[in-house]
């Protein structure tokens, strides 16, 4: 139980750090997926601990939502690449103060 959770935490942290340090939008996106997967693992671990299936169902829904998110996110990346010729997240900084 706790080891599963710990693994989940480690993966989540790695994903978060990845979001922070990687500049390729694709890899940033993969890191987000990694974080989602980490929470899924936590869900499964808790479901097992509680002895019911609600956690697994939550993980399932996360997967569905992640699928939708990937579709839209990748479309955005393609659109950005098409308009700017680059997919570096640092390129997109119109909100600069």
């Amino acid at each position: 139980m706790s080891d599963l959770l710990s693994l989940s935490m480690i993966l989540f942290t790695i994903g978060a750090v990845g979001v922070l340090v990687r500049r390729n939008a694709l890899i940033v996106f993969m890191c987000v997926e990694l974080m989602l997967n980490a929470t899924n693992l936590a869900f499964v671990a808790f479901a097992r601990e509680h002895g019911n299936l609600d956690g697994q169902l939550a993980a399932f829904f996360v997967m569905v939502v992640a699928a939708a998110e990937v579709v839209v996110g990748l479309a955005i990346i393609i659109a950005i690449h098409r308009s700017r010729g680059s997919i570096s997240v640092d390129e997109v900084r119109q909100v600069r103060g």
Partner: protein, 625 residues
């Protein structure tokens, strides 16, 4: 179907204000037709009301619920009772005549359509005022009248004096409105309702002090609208408006509203001796003050305005006498509406002939040049001074009689007022129509067109015949269901009881003296072509409106200006600096923090992540404790 009365002129106003230029050609006809339709409908309703039982002459027409919160309900209702009926006939009747007159008077004004729209608005607002079944609805009409008077007084807005006069009328009226608004709030607090009938019923079980406060507040409102001392100053300046407007304000609408309010609130004033006394005092002071002002003015319209003040003072005084005087106040109001409208429109006709010159010292001997105007004006003149048999004779005598019965000194003051009235009106007549011609050669006085003289004739006839209303005490009987009526006590002077005929004789003698004085001063002697500079203190006093504006200046305007300047200084030096300092601080802080907004998404994500870290840490701390 009482609401139709209001609907006609309101619709007319809305139509003319929204319609484009193409309605310039016939806009005035629409407005006149709207007013006339309202008058016709008023006559129909009046006849219907006559057909009803004496005690069943109140028709309530509820349109919709205006306000409904908790226990407080305000119905948009029109109450058509004998009092309102008289007012409706006066407003729409005289109003329609003024509309007709204005067709000729304003013929060459390019904004005539707008003028007629405002006239209609004025009539509609005044009708709302007199038909209201609830003080809040009354207030709606009250403010509507204020707005319409503002628009009309300042109609020639290109003249700075007109704009200033409109503003003054509006501001002074606001002071009165404070009283009105406070009175309504007090009613709501004390009675939980603002319906006029319900308020009247609730008076019985309420503390005397509250009733007195209510009465005084209502009186303040009435003073504002009716130009009573101390809120009289706007009336004389209001002469800046076109003359038909003056006629409308002085005869049919606006200034009668205050008298109407006092009479309509008779339940409140009946219950408070103090409030009644205050009304009498205000009326008396205004009566004398207006008469004195009227004596000294060379401007024909201002002399008439002083006269209006004075006559409204008579009405207020009568209303302050309680049930003995209400009916006479309304009676005088109606007859005054006739002859004052007549004379104002006559004055307009004279000005029309004299190229808009209003100085009476430039007139003289106009009786031959303007025969119709002279005749109608003369009839109005006889009515106002109370020549026996004319309407003013009956209505003013009744008030003087009631005042004498109430208190001899007050009564004698009103008799004196009648004498002064005779003096200044005779002076006006003499300077305008009698004597030698004093106008310059390039002026060619000519009689006004038919569209202007016909209303004059109608009004002159009404001025002569207005006394009929008193036949068989009809007017007191008619108003009795609304305001009640008690015969006043017998007039006792110097221990002897005076019959009414003796009082009339006394008044007539005093009036005759006033006429004679004026005639020998202005009629027989040559009148100076320019206003003499070397005059007695009293004349100067009167010429300056009894220094009313000076008092206002020192009591209200100067302290307010000083306060405003002080506040402005504080605002500029204290407040402004504090604000700009704070703004500068924030601005500098912002620009230094601006650097944090480097536009890198990952940098923001780091912030979010740090936030999540802090939040989780806090949660853990809470759990571990």
């Amino acid at each position: 179907m009482v609401w139709l009365l209001v609907a006609f002129p309101a619709l007319g106003a809305a139509l003319l204000l929204t319609w484009g230029k193409e309605s310039d050609r016939f806009g005035h006809l629409i407005a006149t037709a709207a007013s006339a339709a309202s008058f016709v409908w008023g006559v129909v309703l009046f006849v219907r009301l006559l057909g009803r039982d004496h005690d069943d002459r109140t028709v309530t027409d509820t349109l919709f619920t205006w306000i409904s919160t908790g226990d407080f309900h305000v119905e948009m209702s029109f109450v058509y009772d004998p009092l309102a009926a008289l007012f409706v006939l006066l407003i729409t009747g005289v109003g329609t005549l003024i509309h007709v007159y204005s067709i000729g008077y304003m013929e060459h004004d390019e904004r005539r359509r707008r003028f007629f729209a405002f006239l209609n608005l004025f009539v509609a607002a005044m009708l709302v005022l007199v038909l209201a079944g609830d003080y809040l609805v009354l207030f709606l009409g009250w403010e509507g009248v204020g707005l319409a008077s503002y628009l009309l007084i300042g109609f020639w807005q290109h003249k700075p004096t007109a704009a200033a006069a409109a503003k003054k009328a509006f501001v002074v009226n606001r002071v009165g409105d404070i009283g009105m608004a406070l009175a309504i709030m007090l009613m709501f607090k004390e009675f939980g309702t603002t319906e006029i009938a319900a308020v009247g019923d609730s008076v019985a079980g309420t503390a005397a002090s509250t009733i007195t406060a209510l009465g005084l507040l209502l009186l303040l409102g009435a003073c504002g609208k009716s130009a009573q001392v101390p809120l009289q100053s706007w009336l004389l300046d209001a002469m800046e408006g076109p003359t038909p407007v003056s006629a409308l304000i002085h005869a049919a609408t606006m200034v009668t509203a205050g008298v109407y309010l006092v009479v309509r609130s008779n339940a409140i004033f009946d219950a408070s001796e103090t409030a009644r006394t205050a009304v009498v005092v205000v009326g008396l002071v205004t009566l004398i003050a207006g008469a004195i002002i009227g004596c000294a003015k060379d401007d024909i319209k201002k002399a008439l305005a002083g006269s209006t003040m004075s006559q409204i003072g008579y009405m207020m005084l009568a209303a302050g006498l309680g049930p003995a005087g209400y009916a006479f106040a309304i009676f005088h109001l109606v007859t005054h509406g006739f002859f004052k409208a007549n004379m104002f429109l006559g004055a307009g006709s004279v000005m029309h002939a004299m190229d808009d010159d209003v100085n009476m010292r430039h007139y003289g001997a106009l009786r031959t040049a303007l025969p119709v105007t002279f005749a109608t004006f003369g009839l109005g003149y006889l009515a106002i001074i109370g020549f026996p048999g004319f309407s003013g004779f009956f209505s003013k005598d009744k008030i003087i009689e009631a005042a004498l019965a109430h208190n001899v000194w007050i009564g004698l003051a009103t008799v004196l007022g009648a004498g002064i009235t005779a003096f200044y009106m005779t002076r006006l007549m003499a300077m305008t129509f009698a004597g030698q011609k004093r106008w310059k050669d390039e002026v060619h006085p000519h009689e006004s067109p038919r569209v202007m003289t016909v209303p004059l004739m109608v009004l002159a006839a009404a001025s002569v015949l207005g006394g009929i209303l008193l036949l068989g005490d009809w007017i007191t009987d008619w108003l009795e269901p609304v305001v009640g009526h008690t015969e006043h006590e017998h007039v006792v002077i110097l221990g002897a009881e005076w019959p009414p005929i003796a009082v009339s004789a006394l008044v007539t003698v005093v009036v005759a003296v006033g006429v004679a004085l004026a005639w020998f001063t202005y009629g027989r002697r040559e009148v100076a072509g320019e206003t003499p500079e070397k005059v007695s203190f009293l004349t100067r006093f009167a010429r300056n409106d009894l220094y009313g504006d000076t008092v206002n200046e020192w009591v209200a305007v100067r302290p307010t200006m000083t306060l405003a300047r002080g506040i402005a200084r504080f605002d500029q030096h204290g407040f402004h600096r504090a604000i700009t300092g704070a703004v500068g601080l924030i601005g500098e802080g912002a620009s230094s923090m601006r650097a944090w907004q480097n536009g890198f998404v990952r940098s923001y994500a780091l912030g979010v992540f740090v936030g999540a870290l802090a939040l989780t840490l806090a949660l853990l701390v809470v759990i571990w404790r």
